[in-house]
Symmetry: C2
Subunit: 245 residues, 2 copies
Amino acid sequence: MSALSDSASPLYEKVKDFVLANIGSGKWAQNARLPSENDLVNSLGVSRMTVHRALRELTSEGHLRRVQGVGTFVAPPKAQSTLIEVSNIINEIRDRGGKHRAGVILLERVEHPAAAIVSAFEFDRVKPVDHSLVVHFENDVPVQLEERYVNPALVPHYLDQDFTSIATLEYLQRCTPLTEVEHLISAVPAGAEQARLLQMPERDSCLVLHRKTWTGATVATVNTFTHVGSRYSLGSRYRPTHKPA
Amino acid sequence: MSALSDSASPLYEKVKDFVLANIGSGKWAQNARLPSENDLVNSLGVSRMTVHRALRELTSEGHLRRVQGVGTFVAPPKAQSTLIEVSNIINEIRDRGGKHRAGVILLERVEHPAAAIVSAFEFDRVKPVDHSLVVHFENDVPVQLEERYVNPALVPHYLDQDFTSIATLEYLQRCTPLTEVEHLISAVPAGAEQARLLQMPERDSCLVLHRKTWTGATVATVNTFTHVGSRYSLGSRYRPTHKPA
DNA sequence: GAGTGAAACATGTATATACATGCCATGTCA
DNA sequence: TGACATGGCATGTATATACATGTTTCACTC
């Protein structure tokens, strides 16, 4: 009773898939303790070295946390990249402390945008496309404008979501098995519409994070416009895991 | 004759260090072929599995490239992050084709900037600090302004470098064993000085990449101001190495 | 009851061995 | 000369075994 898939991939990959499947299905919840290496050896019928390699790689990839002498645990989900992590302004505001309030206004949602837009965002042959425009507030001050084009066919229950309470990027990240992510960061002067929605002077600088994701076909395109009055920025801090040459 | 360090770290780590040392010293040049696993087994006196693990991890970390049946090779130096890679505008221009020309003007270089600046950039107790201001051109059009604060004590031969021919980030990346890198990206309206140097309208949007590096003490701070007339942007494309849950 | 020590158990590392897989150079045959 | 087979060599994977190291638990002793 192997419980492992029968594809042609190496055994340790199948063990990794098995672990990830159990994490993904929710059977092994966050911070839950995994069966010990010897348990997996018995239940999966592979050698301990193979199990060990699978668990070690999953650990280095951030999926697991291991403590010698104690056990192996499901790691909290890691952000797909530091960019996404920091760009999720809702979390940023929430983490900043108690006296700030975050708000959201859903401005519009249309399911059939103009054909020109559809082609510009490379959603070929997959309409209808959900287009929505959302403004995020902090303390009643608008700080970010989010423009989304989502292929609802690829995101389960997307249309049922209440995006005034959950951050888009967070939701998309959790629900879609992405194969590719593209980020583009640029700075543009605010246009008339953007300036109005963000209550900022026209032509003031906006930091734009453009994020496009694929799973074969295009899943979603999200543009976030942030009014950067030296208040918000994207950032990352990098610690090499190895000694540079 | 082990040729391996005698610290308390595991054997496979010593093998990794041994390989990295040979790469770092230039003994094994870029794209050079490493000794085979069996050669290393004989010369280092460890088992093949240990050598294999070391080489496998160095491969996944981007230091080596392996081809089954052929051999192991020193990988071309990877960019410290996609941000740096793309932000190096000199390379960007050079790679864009033959009909573009890149140029540089070194505006000023002072070794003892004002104390206020020194403290603002957290170069405590390490003056003199080299401060220089460089404008990058493409086809005689200024596209990027680079402002650098470098601790010359930590960067060998920094003062001897001719930075009109080599990109700063590239040089700093190659010469300093960084322990930490911080990036901040923001968008600001161009100030009077920046607008003049970049020949752009004042208050037009600038994309700013702020990069600070440490090796214990602060090594360098580099701010690059790019005039983003929908011509330049930072970006990264991400392909997950594993299947997300 | 508090402290101590040993056993049990978890992960971490190292080795020897075997076989699988992929590439290349060599040589042979048409 | 070209196509093909083959052997050599490199990396890739899987296993069994052994020991090292760190944690928890539990019984024993004082």
